[in-house]
Symmetry: C2
Subunit: 289 residues, 2 copies
Amino acid sequence: MEASRRIEQALATSLQRCERIECPPRLQAALRHAVFPAGARVRPRLCLAVAHSCGDDDPGLADASAAALELLHCASLVHDDLPCFDDAATRRGRASVHRAFGERTAVLVGDALIVMAFECIARAGARSPMRMAGVLSTLARAAGAPNGLAAGQAWECEPQAEVERYHRQKTGSLFAAATVAGAQCAGADPGRWRNFGECLGEAYQVADDIRDVADDPALLGKPVGQDSAHGCPSAVAALGLHGAVARFEELLDGALRAIPTCPGETQLRALVQFESIRLIPKGLAHRAA
Amino acid sequence: MEASRRIEQALATSLQRCERIECPPRLQAALRHAVFPAGARVRPRLCLAVAHSCGDDDPGLADASAAALELLHCASLVHDDLPCFDDAATRRGRASVHRAFGERTAVLVGDALIVMAFECIARAGARSPMRMAGVLSTLARAAGAPNGLAAGQAWECEPQAEVERYHRQKTGSLFAAATVAGAQCAGADPGRWRNFGECLGEAYQVADDIRDVADDPALLGKPVGQDSAHGCPSAVAALGLHGAVARFEELLDGALRAIPTCPGETQLRALVQFESIRLIPKGLAHRAA
């Protein structure tokens, strides 16, 4: 089955488990609103691409890991959009969860999505509990403290933050988890895959910073200029627009070099090239340069 | 080792993993503030008591499960205290996390504690990955949607909620998880233990509702009268104070009857009796009756 169908199906299965009479109806609707319609699903696609390159001999665990990565990502977006953080009115081109369902429901949606991510992994672990334990640790480290997504986000509450560390934790951690978990699902050595995910994750965050100052809000589906408005550490603030574009290209090169020799190498290169164009359209890179 | 020392040590170990240079200092301090000093630790004590009754042959997994239950509970308290929910200024007799560290940090503390709970289980699963997978599923079901803690809390956002369902999800779920996971950690049949946890959990919530209208705020460590102030479903509102006390006693009897025949039966009965007096002091029960 094609990767994007596998991802949507795994996410739909997780969401359907909540659509029962005993679940508060607002929470049900808000959970669905947070996860669908699909965003770019870049983390789960990366996870499945690596699992494929490593043989993908436990596709149930790979699908669960892919879904779990996306659920953790969606949870972070919902909490990131809250009034106390970005107070974003829109996300993926429509109302953010707290604008559509209220702030209390949005807090609980984030909580429930984090739990759902781990439940997803637990359900898929029957075939290889040892692999499952590895994936679980990878995802937990990537999502929490001291140096996962929650920690990354928490640098926004500090008087000073080093921009590379902030990016590595807030964005890089889940990308690295995507490549590492992809390998773990297939019983491959995960250590060879971390650097690839880390480079890609940092590139992704630098691209986000660039688009935050230079992009058209209609293309982003969310307001632009958020980083400077909220005083978030930003590659553009640290390096200038030109420097940030150069850094983005350097990181992409690093990601390409970090792909281990494997049967799916060509496909992974194509995925990186595709993402690089999607993230920073050529015209934008030229305007910036 | 005595149960309370085991619990505090397991929690301290989890927290210490976050106390590193790469973790934002405010987040580190706020995580510690949310978990220490110790509250009653009733859920982890229940988990360890059941594990002990079932032979406790994997104490590392039992300690991790106990700690994970408490971390999930602390996470829910931090989010429950947020301005958009109860806006509680105090918790356990001192400033709530959002009053001491700000709302953004409080949101992230809750997220990080949920992740930490699952990480705790993952780390302790090496000896029996199959048991670990069972514990993990139990905790995830108890914490999330459709009928765990997050769902229970979400009934507060609905125009109508059935008080028993709200209690069962918001409080009962984690108590039932404590008894079920306690059995799972020791490789025992968890089905025999669910009802005990459920009765105890419902009793606990009814007691909380009673103390919310009848107790001294200095004993609670948090403001009283919160349920009616926030329109939360409450046993006292549904049954009256006298009816709620009768219901509390009925549930305690149910919990005592639900204890399966096992070596630790006497100890478990003593734990229930101890909790019943701690939850509703005799004088309060008399005043209410």
